[in-house]
Amino acid sequence: MLKLFEHDKLDVNNLSPEQTAIEVKQLNLRFGEKRVLEDINMLIPKNQVTALIGQSGCGKSSLISCFNRMNDLLHGCEVSGQVIISGSDIYHRKQNVATLRTRVGMVFQKPNPFPMSIFENVSYGLKLQGVHERRKLDDAVEQALRETGLWKEVRDRLFESALTLSGGQQQRMVIARALALKPEILLLDEPTSALDPLATLHIEELLNQLKKQHTVIIVTHNMQQAARVSDYTAFIHEGKVIEYSDSDSLFTMPKRKQTESYITGRYG
């Protein structure tokens, strides 16, 4: 029979090492007495967009923060299990956390431009890494801004304050700042919740472009956004992964009743 539509889907329970960007093994996270994540086991596919959805407080932001050890900064945080990126456990005692955060970039809910020029914002990470050669910085800034589709909009005002950009532009610039360090993985924690619908669509389209070069993981409480933007989706509830599969299956025929109830607005 003639196949009319092609949709490549990977089985997230059965990824080869070449297809895997992050392997999460028996991950547990506690904040003091509170158990936030419980026995998380996941294979996150490379060069795809994976969304984490769930109610507020379900642990999705905590999980994404484990992927570049942002939780280390929180008092009373205790992690067990493994998060394997490029063959090594990022929770190994010899892991250099600064290097890790270069490889695994993160963008937050509200655009957080530094009070300096657009150029200085985007080149900030590189300068911290000791890159000061002007030509290298110019190239890196241009490439990162091109990747986020912002170059044409800001190339004539690179030395103006980043605070003069619109909310959507600021968020794209923040993504460019992360991209300037050429991360393998880009984590986005509710990246569009402070933006208007049109700016949101631009960011979503950007993510679709970025996955060609990077693995993208997005946390969102907006199910419609997860459906639009992601190739794979994990539904998290009370610190556990309830269902994790390709987004087509999860949003048309979820296997677990709990997932069905959540995505159809019958939960709680």
Binding site: M1, L2, K3, L4, F5, H7, L198, L201, H202, E204, E205, N208, Q224, A227, R228, S247, D248, F251, T252
Partner: protein, 225 residues
């Protein structure tokens, strides 16, 4: 008139999905057109083998309907289409159901030919070919109207169904007269009646598709046209 542009979304992926979906209906329609063409050719040349091929090919049309249905469901779940996008998807879901049924009607005629059950009457054969050609023309016009989202063409094709209905009525009278003269082959003649009815039903379903095109473009359910 509503404003319809498939290729102008911010999401390039969504543009492609809608374009592919629309093209898939045309692929399905193209196969249906071929099926009807082959059936008429088989009738004209008494080619039971070709008619048999049409019967087998109907499975392809059924499979396409299922695939397009699933794709519509997938796009609704993933993209949450609104306005003209939503109407396009609803139109496609309904149109493919009609195209699939047209395939079944063609299959019925092809079965009659493949079983060599067409009574030996030149009058009947030429009448069947006549209405068949007329229906084929209407099918082509319907698919063209859909491809171009042309409501004028859809309206014109929609109205064309009346002449098929009239032709069908005339044919019924002729067939009943012939049946009276060939009462020994009554079973075969009943099959012929069904086949004629199938041609008439294809006209009705083309009319439905034209109605969906008008709904898609106009944005209102003008069911009384």
């Amino acid at each position: 008139m509503a404003y319809i542009e498939i290729n102008t979304h911010i999401s390039v992926g969504f543009n492609k999905e809608l374009e592919d979906l629309k093209n898939s209906v045309l692929t399905m329609g193209g196969l249906l057109e071929q099926q009807l063409n082959d059936t008429l050719h088989a009738l004209k040349t008494n080619n039971a083998g070709l008619a048999e091929k049409v019967v087998i090919n109907d499975k392809e049309i059924n499979s396409m309907e299922i695939q397009i249905d699933e794709e519509c469901m997938r796009i609704i779940a993933r993209r949450h289409p609104t306005a003209s996008d939503l109407r396009l998807i609803m139109t496609i879901a309904k149109a493919t159901a009609d195209i699939e049924r047209m395939g079944d009607e063609i299959e019925r005629v092809a079965k009659l030919i493949s079983h060599s059950n067409v009574p030996d009457s030149e009058t009947l054969k030429s009448s069947m070919l006549n209405i068949g050609e007329h229906v084929l023309e209407m099918l082509k016009d319907t698919l063209d109207a859909f491809a171009r989202l042309d409501i004028m063409a859809a309206q014109k094709t929609y109205e064309n169904d009346e002449s098929i209905d009239a032709q069908y009525k005339d044919l019924l009278s002729i067939t009943i007269l012939e049946m009276q003269q060939h009462s020994d082959e009554l079973e075969n003649w009943l099959e012929v009646l069904w086949a004629l009815r199938s041609f008439e039903r294809i006209g009705d379903r083309c009319k439905n598709v034209c109605e969906y095109v008008i709904f898609l473009v106009e944005g209102s359910a003008n069911r009384d046209i």
